[in-house]
Amino acid sequence: MSLESVILSKVKESPFDTRELSEKLKLDYNKLIQAIKSLEYKKVLECKIKVLNEIVLTESGKKCLTAGTPESRMFESIPENGIKKSELMKIFGREGQPTFGQCMKCGWIRSEKIETKEQEQEKEQPKQKGKKKKKQRPDLMLFRKVEEINDLVLEDLKIIHDRMSEKLTKKTLDILKRRKLITTIQTKSFVVSQGPEYEKYTTTQKIEYQTCLKKGMLQKNNWKSHTFKKYNFKSLGVPTKGGSLQPILKVRSEMRKAFLEMGFEEMKTNRYVESSFWNFDALFQPQQHPARDAHDTFFMKNPKKAKQIPEELMEKVKTTHETGGYGSIGWRYKWSEDESRKNLLRTHTTAVSSKTLREISKEPFRPRRFFSIDRVFRNETLDATHLAEFHQVEGFIIDKNLSLGDLIGVISEFFGKLGMEKFKFKAAYNPYTEPSMEIFAFHNGLNKWIEIGNSGIFRPEMLQPLFSGTRFNDYKEDVNLSVIAWGLSVERPTMIQYQIQDIRNLVGHTVDLQMVKKGPICRLGFPRKVIKEKKKEEEIKKEKN
């Protein structure tokens, strides 16, 4: 007989309790419930949940059933001629003292004081003044008081084991509970009775349902003769297996795509260790600038110094720092070659931009656009918003007579591709750009302006030494070359996009791979969703009007 027919016949007799039934017929409880639930879904059965507080034996309670209660065991272990209490305690260990108490309470054993020699001596010699002896507890000699014992506790436990705890008083139960021999557990079961469809279901002919379309049915072409089991659509499917890409790197891919769409060439940024010269000096960043502090920058112990720096360029950079030129008065300090040779982990990818500019200065001029997305390093201790390394995004354009208006325009286009719409710009300071602007975008979801990047026009003091001959930013010329640039990090917009508070949940080995696996495809543009919703609302309003 199938499980279903067992259930149906049982419920015909009378409503039953699922636990009782499974125990009685030795049925697998989970399978039973599954079968009942599927019948309940078809309204053949009705289920009512029943919560039962049941008193059962604990592990030590169960032990009593086979080995006797501790107090009976203690009674048994007292020989005819008695035993020292200390020795008895050794046998019973931690259980000893409470069990002893139990025996005394039952009146099964009696005790006699015994006096050790020391104590005898003590009695004879009155206490010496000033000397306090450690008071020793007198040992006891224990004897059986009765011939045979009547272990009531064991009887009680047997009653509970037979599930008749209702026969016992609350007081008894409390005592047993306190002794941790019994405990209360909550069990849930269902009381199953006939449902509205019961009659119809049991009287109509049984159909064998098919769970799925099978290959054989197609081969035999008999699929029409089968009835398919109703599929439970209120459930999830089987999870797919497969790999996934890291969320930050998905954003990196999208940003890379945005640049490529806009005609930017990717720079060779595969070099983490850089000289101070390329990272700072060539960018007109003075040697006493706070960013060059060991506090902020990782300097290298090995390789400590850069071996090769183009000499004529170094001379030009030195002059520009010390005395200026090209219309600049320079930083006016003594420039140190040794300082510029110090190797470090690049603090920005602009180190690569200056190298790229140096490369293209050797070719005939044509307008160019470049970008890079790669790691940069800062000497920070990790916390929720700081990492010692992050991905910097950088783009620049070199062309004739580029203006701040062009920079604002191209930034708007780039960030527009990342899904942002409203921008504003604030003056800022940066040693190698002038004018410099911080970029803010309006976040529709958070309903506020958020700083998203930095930008500026490269200073002539930075560019001029890299390009011999060509003039940058010279008021005497009508046509000037200029370089407009901007930068941001990959991490920050990603944190905003995915509403992640702790950067360590997004980068590094502490990232939850489950999050990576469940990560959505990257459709950049944090306000997109919200904007869509707002537009919908507006449309609805219009229609109403």
């Binding site: 006493q288 044509r366 307008p367 790691r375 208006g405 003056a427």
Partner: protein, 610 residues
């Protein structure tokens, strides 16, 4: 970026105008500073609202309420820019002689005198705060410049700036009662929470810098502390200011900042009296130096750089708002265009062109930067100020018209494409740090460091970042440790750079693009990692040659590597060159990383497959 904390009410009083927080935030934004935070403090049982304002790192003139309020008032057109004047020397004795030994420790000093100043509790506090701010920023924690201020009426010129043995210097330091010599003083301030950070600047020098007056009274022991004798107070009327320095430019900027800010409270505002500095080479310099640096800019240049089109008068007005003075001169400028540029483009403007030269009617502006504006060092700084005064957000957006063609960096493109393939093969991407501890790459991986492999960091704050990684594996192992809650097997990969020392590189090290795969399950799963290698080679179109005879093919060969289980490690060869390893990780490595399941890994150098 320095932050200044200013009481809202005091600021509005100084501005002569009241704002809502939002309005003031907007004003800050337009001016190029940032209202970072608004805090409430309880002072004398009264609520005081404090504005925390972020100031650009090169605007030392905005580090106190005097300068900030003044600049904003001028920006708003509520006030004319002040004209700063250096008056005549008050006395022949106002000179300081620099003795030759100072060159050994702190060669420069610049001085100035503020006459008949009126201190109030408010401006006195601001005076002290500004010095603190300057010490922290431009003075680089007193290393480059240290400021000392003294009550002129308690000291007597001429002064000397000397460098003496520590034991020879004896005086009562500021706010102390006991005389100490240089050595005692160093000991005494070891435990001082504030001053102990500056002691190292001179401590180990054979001589310490010191300033004396005519009567051998110590004014200060820069950059540590002033003397008690010349201490200034609310009652001080005449202030002697000295700045000793390693960097003369910064000393001048520091001095100018202090006096341009606080000469406002002199009986004759914005004036200052000079002091002669006599250097060992007998050269006498008078400080402060208010000689303005002039920058020539043209109207056309500024308009083009900012992307606006304003006339000369409007530009004067905007410059004025930023405290810049200018002299206009209308002239026809002849531009000699560079040939290379000329080939590219012919500007369509109303101008005469003659043989590669064109003439435009333009204005030449000679712009003077006042002593408060040390940040202006080139014409482009002037242009930026015009931009700010015009309003960055009023500039019309344009886009560069030139056509350019994008392009990828082949190594990155290969990386990008391969990542998708490996993820499709069922591996999840990790993104681990490029920096790690030395143990992670060596001891834990059972690899000996011969000092010729890894790039080592000198000054890392954290043990986590001692070297640049030489392998992607430690990062993946650490990721595995954090993934104990996931179902087995765990399959990971990363395509990223490692750093290796390289004698031939101009800096001494190079990056190498690696591709690493990782499998961890109840069994070591070597066959899966092997399969991943085959799949990677398949998509790279590299055929397999099990015999290892063909050149344009890959094969693997058993090898020994300390990180791998003996007998379960192979080298990957491509074009007969070893490009990586794969195998079962050594159980000791697993124990070292606290991993409880067997792991197989693969790591190859991707650059060989370009």
């Amino acid at each position: 970026m320095p932050t200044v904390a200013i009481k809202k009410l005091e600021l509005f009083e100084a501005l002569g105008k009241t704002y809502t927080d939002e309005e003031f935030e907007q004003l800050c934004f337009d001016f190029g500073i940032e209202l970072d935070d608004i805090e409430e403090e309880i002072e004398n049982e009264e609520k005081v609202i404090i504005y925390k304002i972020d100031i650009p790192a090169n605007r030392y003139d905005l580090l106190c309420i005097e300068g900030l309020a003044r600049s904003l008032r001028i920006f708003l057109g509520l006030q004319e820019p002040p004209v700063f004047k250096v008056k005549e020397r008050l006395s022949e004795t106002h000179k300081i002689t620099v003795l030759p030994d100072c060159a050994k420790i702190r060669p420069f000093v610049v001085c100035a005198i503020l006459k008949d100043i009126t201190f109030t509790e408010k401006n006195y506090k601001s005076f002290i705060d500004l010095q603190d701010k300057l010490h922290h920023n431009i003075c680089r924690r007193r290393k480059l410049v240290a400021i000392g201020t003294h009550d002129l009426d308690k000291i007597e010129g001429p002064f000397t700036y000397e460098a003496l043995l520590p034991s020879e210097i004896n005086f009562i330091p500021l706010n102390q009662t006991k005389k100490m010599n240089g050595e005692e003083l160093m000991k005494f301030y070891e435990s001082d929470l504030k001053l102990k950070h500056y002691l190292h600047l001179i401590r180990d020098s054979s001589v310490y810098p010191v300033i004396y007056d005519k009567n051998r009274t110590v004014l200060s022991l820069p950059p540590i502390i002033n003397g008690e004798h010349s201490k200034i107070s609310l009652k001080t009327k005449n202030v002697f200011i000295e700045c000793t320095a390693l960097d003369l430019t910064k000393a001048n900027i520091t001095l100018n900042t202090v006096i341009t800010m606080f000469s406002e409270y002199c009986s004759e505002p914005f004036t200052v009296h000079p002091v002669d500095i006599k250097y060992p080479n007998e050269k006498i310099v008078s400080t402060p130096n208010f000689d303005c640096v002039s920058f020539e800019v043209s109207l056309n240049y500024v308009n083009k750089l900012i992307g606006i089109n304003i006339d000369a008068d409007k530009m004067s007005e905007l410059l004025h708002k930023m405290q810049l003075e200018e002299i206009k001169e209308k002239r026809t400028v002849v531009y000699s265009n560079k040939k290379e540029i000329e080939q590219e483009e012919e500007e369509e403007e109303e101008e005469k062109e003659e043989g590669g030269k064109k003439e435009i009617v333009d204005y030449l502006l000679t712009v003077k930067a006042p002593p408060t504006r040390s940040d202006i060092i080139h014409a482009c700084d002037v242009a930026e100020d015009v931009g700010i005064a015009y309003g960055f957000n009023n500039i019309v957006r344009t886009t560069p018209k030139s056509n350019t063609i994008g392009g990828v960096f082949p190594l990155n493109e290969l990386t990008e494409l391969l990542r998708y393939e490996i993820a499709q093969a069922g591996y999840t991407e990790a993104l681990t740090f490029a920096l790690c501890s030395h143990d992670d790459c060596f001891k834990k991986m059972r690899v000996e460091d011969n000092g010729k492999i890894a790039a080592v960091i000198e000054n890392a704050k954290s043990q986590m970042f001692q070297i640049a990684r030489i392998s992607l594996l430690p990062g993946l192992l650490r990721t595995r440790v954090e993934s104990d809650h996931l179902k087995l097997p765990i399959k990971l990969f990363e395509v990223s750079d490692v750093v290796l020392l390289d004698e031939n590189s101009e800096i001494g090290s190079k990056n190498e693009r690696r591709c690493a795969g990782f499998y961890s399950g109840t069994t070591d799963g070597f066959e899966y990692i092997h399969g991943l290698l085959d799949r990677i080679m398949e998509v790279l179109e590299v055929p397999c040659d099990l015999e290892g005879e063909k050149t344009e093919a890959y094969y693997i060969k058993e090898t020994d590597h300390p990180s791998y289980l003996p007998g379960r490690c192979a080298s990957v060869f491509y074009r007969h060159k070893q490009v990586g390893y794969l195998g079962v990780l050594h159980p000791e490595v697993l124990i070292n990383f606290n991993i409880s399941t067997p792991c197989s890994v693969l790591e190859i150098n991707l650059e060989e497959f370009l």
